[in-house]
Point group: C2
């Protein structure tokens, strides 16, 4: 069940995406939106705030909310979105090849935020293939404390769908570190790297809603296929 402000948000984004409100237009004023959707102003304002934060509109005091030029859907760096979801929203027609699932300990050396040692985990290694080219190697460590086992089908389809839908866990937030490094030989093979190119590595530490540490992830991207985008707002400290 969606909240009222989410329903309003979605309706407005749809109207922007479908050109009912066009780039440069003002969307209806907050008071008009109150009448249109039958909501109070604070509720409408939550929806409009989300439009702002996601780069759909720019709100200007005394004037209104202007629709921005949105050409937004390339690979996002920030955010916490599963590969499966990206694939769906970007229509990438990508395939996933599962290299292996096994039991290991989390390699604490790789994850500087890993404070505890000898964390038992299920290790999943996958390659993302787009147009027959390997683009990304994903290495996931799901902590045994939280997820006891991972079926192959979940790794092939979507880990997050399994974790959230089947297990009923709520993935909530992550800390990420992005670097550029020389890959090990296994990754060189998997990504079919010929020269000595480095790869972009996004390492993250993912937590559940109740702050439980649940997953470490390493995504290794071929640099020639790496193109991330971001929409940022200025918040002065």
């Amino acid at each position: 069940m969606l909240n009222k402000h989410e329903i309003i948000y979605r309706d407005l984004t749809q109207k922007i995406v479908h050109g009912i409100y066009q780039k440069g237009d003002l969307i209806p004023s907050e008071n008009e939106l109150c009448e249109l959707y039958g909501g109070s102003r604070e509720t409408i304002r939550k929806a409009v705030k989300d439009l702002n934060e996601n780069g759909f509109v720019q709100t200007i005091r005394g004037k209104g909310s202007i629709v921005l030029d949105l050409e937004r859907f390339v690979f996002p760096v920030s955010g916490l979105t599963s590969y499966k979801e990206l694939d769906a929203s970007l229509h990438m027609h990508s395939a996933t090849r599962v290299i292996g699932i096994s039991d290991t300990l989390v390699p604490a050396a790789k994850f500087e935020f890993a404070t505890e040692l000898d964390l038992a985990a299920t290790y999943i290694e996958r390659v993302r293939v787009v147009h027959d080219e390997p683009i990304v190697v994903d290495r996931d460590y799901l902590l045994k404390d939280v997820v006891t086992a991972v079926p192959l089908a979940a790794a092939q389809n979507s880990l997050y769908e399994y974790v959230e839908h089947d297990l009923g866990l709520e993935v909530s937030y992550a800390r990420k570190i992005i670097t550029v490094e020389q890959p090990d030989t296994e990754v060189q093979d998997l990504l079919e790297l010929t020269g000595n190119e480095p790869v972009v590595i996004v390492r993250s530490e993912v937590h559940l809603n109740d702050t439980t540490l649940f997953q470490f992830t390493e995504s290794l991207h071929r640099i020639d296929k790496f193109k991330f985008t971001d929409f940022a707002r200025r918040h002065v400290q």
Copy 2:
């Protein structure tokens, strides 16, 4: 003048940073905060929402807001923060070397979001030096339509301070694209690159509060010094 919810937000962040509320603790409940700060619940909730979004706490329904482990201050990828501000908040002790200021047209080929051609701009090229090592080359194009001239002192100190404080403009949002590419020879020289290493390039298109396009930026980072962090929350589409 700060808003009430901003004052409350700052006070709470200070208490977390200084350990008055420690990692794993619950901060006072929203009702208690209402009494503590003499505000209504929606006002307190705005402050707490900001704490969540910036990774200070995790709010759990029926339970409270738990202080997270914060080791947050490395170079952020997302966000829109000037180098000068990063320098100050990270205590990087960096220096800026201004290579040149001149008049040019914006090289539209580099910025795929640059729709119009032949935009007149002031071009500023700078190198950021930390511990005597060149780390980043910043290339800024400030549109002549908005900023007629840039004094050398502004380039040496902080462009954003000049633009926001002296000119009274409000920098508001940006679209960014992050890639890894081979640099041109000038950048190789400036960054003292010996081999054939690529660089990380963050290109952005920056707008003012009133949606005016105002600046194009290209930041070229040495990959061995590149380490970005991010705090991300999951928002399911």
